[in-house]
């Protein structure tokens, strides 16, 4: 029989999780969890609803950096003007998750911990060097977003742990990010390929820092260091774009499924990386 708890502090949530006798599931927006409850894929003994914890939903700024509560709905993230200006790629990736209705509830922590290889917000967060604060029985630790997902449906979090917030760093001048996904229609679909790119340019338009992350082409999101290296030290010329495209394709280890073959996903990954980089450069150049 299923039990439900709605703790009002992080410490209480950790105590409940650590003391749970069976399988406990954390509920943020519930847009994945409720589907899994209905289908029988998830059969928890306990649901721990985090939304009564103060600060678990909402966005605050600290010296140009942003703190986003783990259960903040996508719609709230999309309405934050300052965040859209600083991290347009993270916001556009988050807002691609599901419909308007899903945006009313779906959260970054849920998108991350559901651990789908095709999660839209995850490549953008990793490209942004976002970190998350994890609370557990041994206290709190701040770790990079890319250390959470270990495989489809699997995370590195302990049974007593939950993510309480995400941190996005302060931006240097002439920095911007972008996220693009390929789907065969215009809305309401799951990424065949996703690409998140962030860049920092110098006054001459030469890239001084970059990070390129692909989604839906491997069991987890992939940080493509060679793709970033192809951009750094250059303007966005044809050599940089060709290097980016080739590195992105080489990083792919996709599956064949109804939404795309291995060959198709690999080729499209290069295209999405190039297009996302072009948008990120254009945005950075306008700052």
């Amino acid at each position: 029989m299923l039990a439900y708890a709605a703790p009002s502090t992080v410490e209480e949530a950790v105590r409940i999780l650590a003391g749970a006798s069976g399988v406990a599931k954390i509920l943020s927006g519930g847009t994945d969890l409720l589907v899994q409850l209905r289908s029988g894929r998830a059969r928890p003994d306990l649901i721990v609803d985090t939304k009564k914890i103060p600060g678990i939903s909402g966005i605050r700024q600290q010296d140009g950096a942003f703190v986003i509560g783990a259960a903040t709905p996508g719609a709230v993230i999309g309405e934050c003007e300052a965040l859209r200006r600083a991290w347009p790629g993270v916001v556009e990736a988050t807002n691609l998750i599901g419909s308007t209705q899903v945006q009313g509830r779906a959260s970054l922590a849920g998108n991350l911990c559901n651990a789908s290889p095709a999660a839209d917000s995850v490549p953008a967060l990793i490209a942004a060097r976002a970190t998350c604060v994890v609370a557990g029985a041994n206290g709190r630790r701040e770790i990079p977003v890319e250390s959470i997902v270990t495989g489809p449906g699997r995370t590195s979090l302990g049974a007593d742990e939950l993510i309480i917030e995400f941190h996005l760093p302060r931006r240097p001048p002439r920095s911007a990010d972008a996220y693009l996904r390929f789907i065969p229609r215009t809305e309401m679909d799951i990424a065949v390929v996703g690409a998140g790119v962030t860049v920092t340019l110098d006054a001459g338009g030469v890239c001084t820092d970059a990070r390129v992350v692909l989604g839906a082409v491997a069991p987890t999101a992939v940080v493509v260091a060679d793709a970033a290296a192809a951009l750094i030290g250059r303007t966005l010329d044809s050599t940089a774009l060709a290097g980016l495209d080739g590195a992105a394709q080489r990083a792919c280890k996709p599956i064949d499924d109804k939404r795309g073959t291995i060959e198709y996903r690999t080729k499209v990954a290069g295209v999405m990386a190039r297009r996302a980089a072009t948008i990120a450069y254009q945005r950075a150049g306008e700052r």
Binding site: A6, T31, V35, K51, P73, Q101, M188
Partner: protein, 158 residues
């Protein structure tokens, strides 16, 4: 297993109910409170037939546990008309024949109202994207979009 006692506000009325934790808000609206306007289409958040607002935010009531309604303010399709006076969106749906079987209509109306409450003058593209999570197998959507844009114009006093 004990049931949870939930106090909430539905369409302006303070409402209390008892529910088991696995029940969705949609289950309770339809089966406990007899508000059967919200429909169960897919139960996976894809079709939007169960759309309601929670504290003003558009959500699928099939993707929310009923226990989460504690202390929240919920609006359903039943709260849209004022007595016998239909909301302009409801009237425009009738005028434009924006429904045939009617199963998707409550969800579309609730979603469209949430749009116009935020954005009184949406473009056609904005309207189509906003309503992309509401599936309709009868109308082909064109009449729905025309009805929403016409209702928006009326509400703006044009």
């Amino acid at each position: 297993m004990s049931k949870h006692h939930v106090s909430t506000t539905i369409n302006g009325e303070p409402t209390e109910f008892l529910c088991e934790p696995q029940l969705t808000l949609l289950d309770v609206l339809r089966d406990e409170i007899d508000l059967t306007g919200s429909k169960e289409g897919c139960s996976s958040g894809d079709c939007g037939a169960c759309s309601v607002t929670v504290d003003g935010r558009l959500v699928c009531s099939c993707l929310m546990l009923a226990v989460e309604a504690e202390g929240r303010t919920i609006e359903t399709i039943e709260g849209m008309a004022r007595g016998h006076d239909l909301h302009p969106l409801q009237r425009k749906f009738l005028e434009h024949a924006a429904l045939q079987c009617g199963f998707c209509t409550p969800g579309l109306l609730v979603a469209a109202k949430a749009l116009l409450d935020r954005n009184p003058n949406p473009t056609e593209t904005e309207t189509r994207y906003w309503l992309a999570g509401n599936l309709c197998r009868c109308t082909g959507y064109d009449k729905v979009i025309r009805a929403v844009l016409d209702a928006a114009a009326e509400l703006r006093g044009e």
